[in-house]
Symmetry: C2
Subunit: 194 residues, 2 copies
């Protein structure tokens, strides 16, 4: 897995900084670049016809975003910095050149895309669950990476609610109910499945 910006691309990359709420690109604009988050966080989102926010992806430090736009003409979503953020951006052309010239990098890039694909499919699976508590349980199972089984939540619970396809009120209530009935334990921003 790539979690550093490839050195071979550094010469062609440009650095950009954004304030919280800053717009990086907009849905429908020509997709010329692929991005890498150096620091901060970026939210990829679209708006439904009623104006509700749909978060497609939340990219954090060390992650690429808009990776799939290499052979797409336009961006399919808005990209907005949720905090103070610096990104590196390369043109699709440069990236394609590196892929063509460097088989090792091509292999890494394929791994990256495959990993993303598995992650998004996991999310589809989660959103296919009909009950709120099942989604929370699925989330905790998938994220069970912490040593003691604790899952740390990045960002606010409100953000998590959006990721789970729930309103924040429902998520708060669901967490409270699951905690009371002894299904999960909570410690600060960490959760554990019991």
């Amino acid at each position: 897995m790539i979690n550093e910006f490839p050195a071979a691309l550094l010469p062609c990359a440009t650095r950009a900084s954004y304030k919280p709420g800053g717009l990086i690109f907009r849905v429908g604009s020509p997709s010329k670049a692929v991005f890498f988050v150096e620091a901060g966080a970026v939210r990829l989102m679209r708006r439904g016809r009623n104006g509700e926010e749909i978060v497609l992806y939340q990219a954090r430090a060390g992650e690429f975003f808009a990776e799939a736009s290499i052979d797409s003409v336009r961006y399919h979503c808005d990209a907005i910095a949720t905090e103070a953020t610096t990104v590196l951006k390369t043109t699709s052309a440069d990236l394609l050149r590196l892929i063509a010239d460097d088989p090792v990098f091509a292999r890494q890039w394929i791994s990256l895309l495959a990993h993303q694909l598995r992650a998004v499919r996991t999310r589809v699976e989660r959103l296919s669950l009909k009950s709120a508590s099942e989604r929370v349980r699925h989330f905790l199972l998938a994220g069970a990476s912490g040593a003691d089984g604790d899952v740390k939540v990045n960002g606010t619970l409100k953000d998590l609610a959006r990721e789970l396809g729930l309103t924040h009120e429902t998520l708060y209530r669901t967490i409270a109910t699951m905690e009371r009935s002894g299904q999960i334990a909570r410690r600060g921003d960490g959760f554990r499945l019991l």
Copy 2:
């Protein structure tokens, strides 16, 4: 986009046939191969804890599946033929060799993964919509490829319901309501957004 099996892989590929309902691989078994559907259809699915089916992907003729398993140890879902199906299967090792040796194929494979990624993200967006009619509308907008704006539904409406994260009863009712109120038109297995 790749819609034929790459000739360079043919020597290393093996062909297999399955009857309707035949099991191709099971969740948790070691992922050694990547598959290509020659004819028929394959459903990638998991089961929730209540036994309900969650369809992750429906692969049809000319499509790969389990593409993301190249650098994964185990399959994360079941693969089942929904009709009489023949597949070509290659080992991950052979595929990786081709990627390393043939930059043009590597490029095509990256396009394939990027395309899959966009498709799954579209589905996440759809599942994030809270109302049944919004999901139907979103589906028809995304699939608006037909000449006269008609979207042909592959498979049964029951399958579509699963893809939209709805029960089949709700989908039937939603379609009926939208048709009565003039939002969509229906002609056999084709639908149009008005």
